[in-house]
């Protein structure tokens, strides 16, 4: 059990094992260590720890991972609402 945990069952992380070659890039870049490489495939160990930073999807050379990357920041979301931005971002 990790020290911090936000809401469950919300992450947009999706993974297609058929495209995975087990190169291990996702496991390397994930700041919450949610991927483990077992055999020649990556496995998502705890999806609820995903913070949707997008590092895994961006660095997967085989396009096996998709996620809607974004900032988990209430102020950014509020400001984006006010300014009518589609994707909340800082600034």
């Amino acid at each position: 059990m990790r020290e911090h945990r936000h809401l469950s069952n919300v992450a947009t992380l999706a993974y297609d094992p058929d495209l995975c070659t087990g190169c291990g890039m996702c496991a390397e870049v994930c700041p919450h260590a949610i991927f483990s490489i077992e055999g020649k495939k990556a496995r998502i160990t705890d999806r609820d720890l995903c913070m949707e930073c997008g590092a895994c999807a961006k660095n997967c050379p085989f396009g096996a991972i998709t996620v809607r990357p974004g900032v988990g920041c209430a102020w950014a979301i509020l400001i984006s609402e006010i300014k009518g931005r589609e994707v909340p971002s800082c600034g």
């Binding site: 020290e3 911090h4 945990r5 936000h6 809401l7 469950s8 919300v10 992450a11 947009t12 890039m25 390397e28 870049v29 994930c30 700041p31 919450h32 260590a33 720890l49 995903c50 913070m51 949707e52 930073c53 997008g54 590092a55 999807a57 961006k58 660095n59 050379p61 396009g63 998709t66 809607r68 990357p69 974004g70 900032v71 988990g72 920041c73 209430a74 102020w75 950014a76 979301i77 509020l78 400001i79 300014k83 994707v87 909340p88 971002s89 800082c90 600034g91």
Partner: protein, 387 residues
């Protein structure tokens, strides 16, 4: 590919935003301040002299050799940035820097041009010989800039080219902070520059061990943390803005008191001061120990306890005909304030996702607005009665 699309979307938008003086955020472990971006005309860190030791010749102009000890000015600058003073303009010039006796076979470490990021890297390098490649992230830290795409594939490829890096070093490897990964596609960079991208540890403090182990990171080095002291440091920024507003409100009430409107009193104000402290300080610091998961909930819960305390302390509870409205004002406004501020700390946290915060806000925002609106109505009633 959806990734590229997002990047293109982000690109021009960012430039636009850089020029605006709109509230600006700089995410990751230090997200979302409202500090405006004054004096945009790239005034890179002016007192550059004290951290640059000398300059050496490079293929694309002089390369500054930098010190690895932070000076008093560096530390003062860091404290100021933590309180949001000049934080959006605390930049170093992008480009190549040398550390120690950097040689063609020395490792290349990539960083952002936010001076706090740059400083936290260089002070860890001690007796090491290395190169630092500073990307132009518009003065924003690595993680936030990676999220925006400014610490990204394009900028890295561009910076490798304009600095003539391939003529400076004999190897073909660049080491990126792991938190830069959301913005950089390692395989793309390799395809375009023939430089291999290796993701180093999350924290600069682990760089030496990482290099000593032959550029291998331990699982611990790969994990982002959010410890008590990480959270403590960030509360300074959380409190700066709410306190600004509180000072303004207090000043206005104080002036009004000379005009005969007796709204200004310590008893009337301290509950609000406390609500701000709860949302901006106590919830961040006590975060994992407060029951529940949603930040707004944690703030609301402590705010409710605080309101109960304030009401008992002011003799408003148990309620009487004369006191119940004032008690209700506290119960409605204080948890709303602390809940709202606590919710804002999602941006500073290192573990909330966009989806998670959206969901939290879908429930919290209407509740906070309803509670605050009714609270303000009660407050108006109490104030009008007091006149």
């Amino acid at each position: 590919m959806p990734e590229t699309k997002t990047d293109q979307k982000k690109g021009p938008k960012l430039e636009e935003e850089g020029k605006s003086s709109q509230p600006s955020c700089e995410c990751g472990p230090e997200c979302c301040g409202w500090t405006s971006d004054k004096g945009k005309e790239a005034s890179y860190f002016r007192e550059a002299g004290h951290w640059i030791e000398r300059r050496i010749e490079g293929p694309a102009g002089a390369i500054p050799v930098i010190r690895t000890k932070l000076s008093r000015q560096d530390i003062l600058g860091k404290v100021k940035a933590r309180f949001g003073i000049g934080r959006m303009n605390y930049k170093v010039r992008p480009g190549l820097y040398a550390v120690g006796k950097a040689a063609p076979d020395s490792p290349v470490l990539v960083s952002a041009n936010y001076k706090l990021s740059f400083d936290s890297l260089r002070r860890e390098l001690g007796s090491l010989d290395a190169w630092i490649l500073v990307l132009d992230t518009t003065g924003i830290n690595v993680w936030c800039a990676a999220g925006k795409g400014t610490f990204g594939t394009e900028e890295l490829v561009h910076r490798i080219e304009v600095t003539g890096l391939s003529r400076v070093v004999s190897h073909r490897t660049v080491i990126l902070p792991q938190l830069g990964a959301p913005g950089v596609a390692a395989h793309e960079v390799t395809k375009r520059t023939h430089f291999k991208v290796i993701y180093g540890p999350v924290r600069a403090a682990d760089i030496k061990d990482f290099l000593a182990a032959g550029m291998k990171a331990t699982p611990e080095m790969r994990l982002v943390r959010f410890r008590l002291r990480d959270r403590f440091v960030l509360t300074a920024m959380e409190l700066t803005n709410p306190f600004k507003y509180l000072v303004i409100v207090t000043a206005v009430l104080w002036v009004l008191s000379f005009l005969g409107l007796r709204l200004f009193s310590w008893g009337a104000l301290y509950p609000y001061l406390g609500a701000i402290l709860i949302g901006g300080f106590f919830v961040p610091v006590l975060l994992p120990w407060i029951p529940g998961r949603a930040f707004a909930w944690k703030g609301w819960l402590l705010g409710m306890l605080w309101a109960a305390f304030a009401n008992i302390h002011q003799g408003l509870l148990p309620p009487t005909q004369a006191s119940w409205q004032q008690a209700a004002v506290h119960f409605l406004l204080l948890p709303a304030i602390s809940g709202f501020l606590a919710m804002g700390f999602t941006g500073s946290s290192t573990y909330t996702s966009l989806s998670g915060v959206l969901k939290e806000m879908r429930y919290a925002m209407p509740a906070i607005l309803a509670s605050a609106s009714i609270g303000i109505v009660f407050l108006a009633v109490v104030l009008i009665r007091g006149l």
